[in-house]
Amino acid sequence: MSRAMPNAALDAKGVMWLLGAMLFVVAPHLLRMPEWVAGFFLVMVAWRGWVAWRAQRFPTRWIVLALTLGAAAGTFLQYGRLFGRDAGTTLLVLMAALKLVEMKTSREVLLAIHLGFVLVMTNFLYSQTIPMGVYMLACVWLFVATLVGYQRSPGRAPGVAGRLVPAGKLLAQALPLMLVLFILFPRVAGPLWALPQDARAGLSGLSDTMTPGNISKLIQSEATAFRVEFEGEIPPYQRLYFRGPVLWAFDGRSWRMSEFSPAAALEYPKAERPVKYAVTVEPHGKHWLFALDVPGTLPPGVSARHDLQLRSVRPVDARLRYEMTSYLDYRFGEKLPAGFREFALRFNTWQNPRTIALGRQWAAENPDPRRVIGRALQHFNSQFTYTLEPPLLESEHPYDEFLFDKKRGFCEHYAGSFALLMRAAGIPSRVVTGYQGGEINPLNRELIVRQADAHAWVEVWIEREGWVRIDPTSAVSPDRIDNGINAALGPIGVIPSIIAADRFGILSNLRFAWDALNSQWNQWVLGYNTDRQRQFLARLGIDAVDWMNLAIWLAAISFAVAGIVSLALVIRDLPKREAPAVRAWRRFGEKLAKAGLARAPHEGPLDYLARVRAARPDLGEQAEAITQRYVRARYGEGISPPEAQELARLVRDFRPA
């Protein structure tokens, strides 16, 4: 029946609600999808709205079929496939639009609403922030309201309140049970099947390669890299070096992580100033984790490589929280095996010849590594500029170009050229990338480390001292290390600029409050995984390791909560308690009925009293006292509680039989 007129059951208002809810839920998708998808969707919605509003004919089956094939073909041409996050979501959005156009029965409406719930879910593949959560809750509300509208008697579509209020009540009453399910439902670690390749697209962060220019791009991002909660004092700002990928291999331009990297035992000749802290790292899709200087204890599932780079067994595809200890005063790597030593000195001689010559010259003048390092730092300090917008290094000898011509650079320029100078001077060296500094949220004493705090520095190996951190950037711009990136370069990006302009600190406080809220959200909502669940439930005395045990708790608490909610609703329906005066009057009537003087249903209290008096003059006085009080309570000015008690007592003592 493809040419049927709109079904009477699908009233136009209901269809409009559904279209509105769909627009709401798809809007975030439409903003990030190709324009033709948005165009297609909006045209379909407008078409369906027109069909419903003006009672127009539906498109024929052939048109719908053609549109369906066209949508699938368009998706395939756009993405080269039909599955995966982006392609799959696009296809779902297009199919939802087509479902709306051809929807004729109330069953199809229900299907469309279910599709709406699935579309809510697809939004979470892209964003799970607090605003997105609130927005999607509103979408769910709209869909439930649409559903409620369709359940009303045919032809009696409710108004806005008639939809939103019952739907809102349903959702509000569902919240307690939702919370219980969320806390107690067993969390499984890891995906059930392989995620599509693009499931984690768009994650920013460090990479396993450092080429001049790539960190300076990263630091324009305000995105959070990780958050740190310290147990006790927060270490001094300039000691906040979070080590990430350690880069050994050098090809003349880029520094890379080495593939060969055996694990190491965490034994240090000197390890002082332990710091305990917990890191909540944002997903970056790679294996490495970040830690202050040298790690003491490692969280489960994490190993340390010989260069003290921490690696997680699984890639960090979801927000991850780990607790650990580090030492700020330490010595490590005093013995450097020949193989590693050779690796830490390797460079090709045909690139950057002037840099290499400079390094060799310094070593020739004074082979003491401390002297060479000092000269290099002095060199940077005297002539170089720290800038976020370094000139491009396009020549075949990038570090020559930087050191001798441009002399303007960012941390990766300094770290890269410094490490090469050291190697040329015969000092084993490697580049360490990670984050330095961060921002302390005064509200929750948490350190927020953003992508903007990305940094690169160098570790050199010195006889009897082991690996020593040298940060050449500090020679050029001590502010960067002491006070952070914004202090060194001025506010970077829009948000810091606005905050810098805010003299009273209101915005900055708001931002801290928002960040504190986000941190809680990340830890307790988004980061609520297997481990967190076990920890949390253990605190409540529930053993979540045992599935059966957890299932029993889940069932018991769910039933209890559902029971309380039900009871609260059902109690309101129970017959109202009689007012004391009414009860007394009823008892009075019952007593008289036993004595053969039942009150007729139509008989008013005063008529009844007259009849009782006539029939039983002996009871007249008592009956009058009772009746008068009752009449006053019921029809007059009312009676006080003591008077009501008096009435009850009179009735109790009333013995007509």
């Binding site: 879910m121 769910v140 008697s153 329906d573």
Partner: protein, 319 residues
């Protein structure tokens, strides 16, 4: 399948109870509730959402899934509450002619809360929906198609609701043993009532002739074709019927024996037609059936009495 199962359960549970005395209050143990077909589909969607949440480790996905699941279980309670404590009483049912639809009124009272989309349905028939305001009595007409004259039983009625979200079907049954009288369908081929009955008292009232023509009125279904003002119709007016002035000068006995038809049912249809004709023209008439007689009279009550006698002719006494 589900509906059949529900019916068999109901048959078994209510076997001994029906028909029952009014009023009926839908107390807790009278109300049944099961997921509707849509409810099962919803459960399937929840499963899909749950698997997606687990696979993509979407915390908000879990929240969504659990919110919807919890909403579903709360909805069960709301659906149940939409029926609970309703008070039902039987109302009147107007008599109808065989083949017409009898409307059995049921009075529904909601002691608490307004109720929406409460449906009443007889087995295999379309439901009637009603909204019931708080502390008000709604009259719900339950249509039953009559097939033959006699007593028509309303039978067991399912009262159900799916409000607010359609995921659950809460239902109960009631049967007040309501009956309606179904008159025989008048057969116009009977012609006009016989002028001269064989009855002893009938002095013979001529059926109104052309000269008795009184005025024109709008055509009503059931008017004999020969009274239609064809000329007026030809002039382009609406369909009109010529109304004849009754002389009412005597009494006419409509007699079983005058209705010359093949079988008793056809006779009753003839008699019914005559009763209506006589009433229409204002003729006083009596009705004589084998074994019973109704003395001549006129008016709505008399007409109803006669038609009822025809309807129940040969039927047993009221149950």
């Amino acid at each position: 399948m589900l509906a059949n199962l529900r019916q068999s359960i109901a048959d078994w549970i209510f076997r001994a109870r029906f028909p029952e005395a009014a009023p009926v209050t839908l107390v807790q143990r009278r109300i049944f509730i099961l997921p509707s077909k849509e409810g099962y589909v919803f459960a399937l969607v929840l499963l899909v959402l749950l698997v997606a949440s687990i696979n993509y480790a979407l915390s908000l996905g879990f929240l969504l899934t659990f919110l919807l699941a919890a909403m579903g279980s709360v909805a069960m309670l709301h659906t149940w509450r939409n029926l609970a404590h309703l008070k039902l009483r039987p109302g009147r049912c107007e008599s109808v002619f065989a083949g017409d639809i009898a409307q059995f009124a049921v009075l529904v009272e909601s002691p608490v809360r307004e109720r929406y989309a409460v449906a009443f349905r007889r087995r295999d028939e379309d439901p009637v929906f009603a909204d019931i305001a708080e502390r008000e009595v709604a009259t719900v007409p339950i249509p039953v198609k009559s097939t033959r004259r006699g007593r028509l039983k309303c039978g067991r009625v399912e009262i159900y609701t799916r409000y607010p979200v359609g995921l659950f079907h809460a239902w109960s049954y009631f049967d007040f043993g309501q009956t309606a009288i179904v008159y025989p369908r008048p057969d116009p081929s009977a012609g006009p009532p016989p002028m001269q009955s064989q009855s002893e008292s009938g002095e013979g009232v001529p059926i109104p002739g052309e000269d008795d023509f009184h005025h024109l009125r709008d055509y009503r279904a059931g008017d004999p074709l020969r009274h239609v003002a064809w000329k007026a119709l030809a002039r382009g007016d609406q369909l009109l019927t010529k109304e004849f002035h009754a002389t009412a000068s005597g009494e006419l006995w409509l007699d079983w024996n005058d209705a010359r038809a093949a079988d008793p049912e056809a006779r009753l249809a003839f008699l019914a037609h005559w009763v209506i004709e006589c009433e229409r023209i204002g003729q006083r008439y009596g009705l004589r059936l084998p074994g019973s007689a109704i003395p001549p009279g006129r008016g709505e009550d008399h007409r109803a009495r006669c038609l009822e006698a025809l309807a129940l002719h040969g039927e047993g006494p009221a149950p």
